[in-house]
Assembly symmetry: C2
Homo-oligomer: 128 residues x 2
């Protein structure tokens, strides 16, 4: 296959995707990078404590402000244009006092609730 036979890859406008999302804590895949997924999520209120034993997880704030609590009464706050990589196995609890939109990057199939599971678990492979 020559390059001319490849379709030009799509431009992904994060704001346009977010405008079609409403449910908090329900990530939607917007792009695949090798075996990684780029997901958008809206956050509002507090999520559950969890960790991802097998993988680091990247959060980049697109709109609004979020916090992440870590064990030991430690909390960080992130605003638009700020990112963090939570190491594999580190327990964390994301929260947002008002609505916040984030870009997540992690291996395809990574579940939002990690090793905690429960009724906050969202599908890992829903695209928008």
């Amino acid at each position: 296959m020559t390059n001319d036979e490849h379709a030009v890859p799509p431009v992904i406008a994060l704001g346009e995707k977010l405008a079609r999302m409403s449910d908090p804590w329900t990530p939607k895949v917007v792009a695949q990078l090798n075996d990684y997924h780029c997901k958008l999520a809206k956050l509002e209120g507090a999520f559950v404590w969890h960790s991802h034993p097998e993988t680091d997880e990247l959060f980049l704030v697109v709109e609004g402000e979020m916090g992440i609590a870590f064990r030991g009464d430690r909390t960080v706050r992130l605003r638009p244009g700020e990112m963090i990589v939570v190491p594999a196995g580190m327990e964390h609890k994301p929260f947002a006092e008002t609505s916040c939109s984030v870009l997540l990057i992690e291996p395809a199939g990574t579940v939002n609730t990690g090793d905690t599971g429960g009724d906050r678990t969202a599908p890992a492979d829903d695209w928008i």
Copy 2:
């Protein structure tokens, strides 16, 4: 090792990193996600045609506007908040008519000039 022994991961402010960068086409690593690197780069003028045979490459525009030319006289343009994943092996030529700042995500060790090489090749592992 318990979680309490882990340091809280740093918040990475993309704007603060970019304010300390000046040379175009010289990516700087700002974070590691498993075996991937998140890099910031300033773009100005035209880069070289190249491809990365082994990996997809993600571009997310942070400031300014960039274009990417593909073979077959096809060009896409990206503005802040817009991203694209260039598939492995697809020849592309990034450009920016004025200064543009982008976040790149790709496996650690990926070289900016891909399989083309030459004097536009920058170190793949310089952190800022």
